[in-house]
Amino acid sequence: MCVGFEAPNVTEMNDWIAIGALALVGLLIPLGMMAVSYLIRPSVPETSKRATYESGEVPTGGTRVRFNIQYYMVALLFLVFDIETVLLFPWAVVYLDALESDAVSLFEIMGPMVVFVAILLLGLGWAWRNGAVQWAQTPRQVEADRDRP
């Protein structure tokens, strides 16, 4: 009885030891590599090494520059379609099976996805119309934007 009680406890402990060991190894390997490289590297101080791009090219400004807002816009739109794919994939996988079975009609399996895609397209259209993918403005557009604070 007593022995039977001890045994599972030990295995449980072993699990935790394994996890701890993994964490330790995970930490030690990078630290060890950094330590080794620190020990064996030669020390040659030079100003060009401190540059942002250590490629011989002299940087023209700081790293903290403003990006054009359009990068974010495009990124956001990209995200939208990314998510669309996430939903479209499983739908496409079950699509044929669903069609073959009589449980659901074509309308029932197509309808929601059509609505979903339509909503996304609508969003894209709205973003487009509102200039989300417009990288440059014609003088006329600039003029029209004047009164938009």
Binding site: I119, L122, G125, R129, N130, G131, A144
Partner: protein, 504 residues
């Protein structure tokens, strides 16, 4: 009468109508992005929210989701991811009413603003999220609906892009919101880990079957984190920090929207999650403690912090923001009182309070919107003597203030009275006492505002004030409803109790 036969998915009609309205606004804006035809946009938004209100009221009257003899039974959609019962419809009504009031009032408030279509569609998208929260029946749909309500809210708070206060408020709101969402999501994952289910009913059956007994701490932590997420949405302590700043910086109609509809939506998920997913006794058996204890503590602390902080504010909007925190504390009594047999009553009382609050608090914030529209300033002193210039609006303000304070015979008194008596019946003496003390204190700062507009002399002479139709209409409707809810309280009581009975 033969009931009209509708497909099942139409039970979500109110939420779908709100979503459709938002999409319609996008379409209109896509067609002519440069022109801002405010009449068309506000008209669409108003029509959509009123249609959603009408459908919700119709469903509620017709007995959709009612379990009684003449009801159609609870409607479960998408394998139980959504559920349409009386509770859902009740809160959809609240959301739709507040949305309609806010949209109407925004017509004047947002005049001259650039992002008209964006504004209205964001409002309606947020309303869609809130309405969906009312019907969501699974932790994942709840989370998605919550985010659908939250994300437009962040944008709406900072929609006055040239106003530093608005932008700052929006950012703060977003950051605190992100933290809270993270906590909430973590809570969901813990609950999922402990029970293996996301759907509320299944979680409950796992807990009742005792299968989650091994994960007491895990489940308890998950529940605690869920409470955190809900506390954020309802602006309860300690997740209330965003509220004063967001309400103060946001356009006043948005403050009204957030403090009334968004709060109500937060409460509906609280009510549903904690009654459906975590049955009291079974859960207490697993985690070793009644979760109502947490709500008792939160209710007392929230109402105390809210009211005490409101008492010495100089800025009217900020005072209302804190008062809104205080009222969240009152509504939390609905969950705090669940442990006893009178749970149905106390939750019904909280729902009544949220409905009445939807009118009186929206009205109060809309008055602030009116004052901002006039440009009279933000402090109590700036409001001095407004009563002489705009008697109708100021009379309505007096109604809102006294109703918020709970002066008979206004609607706010009755809901507070029900809360008080049901809290007593549930044996929560401390909570009931805190309710009374805080109400007494609240009278101080509410009446201060009434005194300012009616009794004090204006600091400087001002010209005649304009009377914007939309704002006035919304304020008057809210005032009338605050008063009319009193004689019509019978049906409200019945509906709220029925809604509470649906889940308790």
């Amino acid at each position: 009468m033969e009931p009209i036969q509708l497909p099942e998915w139409t039970a979500l009609g109110p939420a779908l109508l709100l979503a459709a309205t938002a999409i319609a606004l996008f379409v209109v804006d896509s067609i002519s992005p440069r022109s801002t035809n405010r009449n068309v946009l506000a008209g669409i938004a108003t029509t959509g929210s009123l249609a959603a209100l009408g459908v919700a009221v119709w469903f509620s009257m017709a007995g959709v989701g009612a379990t009684g003899v003449d009801g159609f039974g609870v409607i479960e959609l998408f394998d139980g991811q959504f559920v349409v019962d009386q509770l859902a419809l009740y809160f959809m009504i609240i959301v739709a009413v507040v949305t309609a009031l806010v949209v109407v009032a925004s017509y004047d408030y947002m005049a001259g603003h650039t992002y008209q279509a964006e504004y209205y569609s964001l409002v309606l998208l947020a309303a869609t999220g809130m309405a969906t929260m009312a019907a969501a029946n699974s932790l994942v749909t709840i989370f998605i609906a919550l985010e659908l309500a939250s994300l437009p809210s962040y944008a709406l708070v900072s929609i006055l892009k040239d106003n530093r206060g608005s932008v700052e408020a929006g950012l703060k709101y977003f950051l605190v919101g992100a933290l809270s969402s993270a906590i909430f999501l973590y809570g969901i994952s813990l609950v999922y880990g402990a029970t293996g289910y996301l759907q509320l009913g299944n979680i409950a059956s796992v807990i009742e079957a005792g299968d989650a007994a091994a994960y007491d701490g895990l489940l308890g932590l998950g529940i605690l984190f869920l409470i955190g997420g809900i506390a954020f949405k309802t602006a309860s302590v300690p997740f209330h920090f965003w509220a004063p700043e967001a309400y103060e910086g946001a356009p006043a109609p948005i403050s009204a929207f957030l403090s009334s509809a968004s709060k109500a939506a937060g409460f509906v998920i609280a009510f549903r999650v904690f009654t459906e997913a975590f049955p009291l006794e079974a859960t207490a058996g697993v985690i070793g403690i009644d979760w109502t204890v947490a709500f008792v503590a939160l209710a007392i602390v929230t109402m105390t912090v809210g009211n005490f902080a409101a008492a010495t504010q100089d800025n009217v909007k900020r005072m209302l923001a804190y008062s809104s925190i205080g009222h969240a504390g009152y509504a939390l009594i609905g969950l705090a009182g669940l442990s006893a047999d009178g749970g149905e009553l106390v939750m019904g009382a909280a729902m009544m309070h949220l409905l009445v609050y939807g009118f009186m608090n929206t009205g109060a914030f809309l008055f602030v919107a009116l004052a901002e529209h006039w440009g009279v300033g933000r402090t109590f002193e700036d409001y001095n003597g407004l009563g002489r210039r705009a008697p109708v609006a100021c009379f309505a303000l007096a109604i809102f203030m006294f109703s918020l304070a709970g002066i008979p015979p206004l609607g706010g008194f009755w809901s507070k009275y029900f809360l008080f008596s049901s809290a007593l019946e549930a044996g929560l003496l401390v909570v009931a006492a805190a309710l009374v003390i805080n109400s007494a204190l609240s009278l101080y700062y509410y009446s201060r505002l009434v005194k300012a507009v009616w009794i004090e002399d204006p600091v400087l002479e001002r010209d005649a004030l304009t009377q914007p139709t939309g704002l006035y209409a919304a304020i008057v409707v809210a005032a009338v409803m605050t008063v009319v809810l009193l004689p019509g309280f019978g049906p409200v009581v019945d509906t709220a109790l029925e809604a509470a009975a649906a889940i308790v």
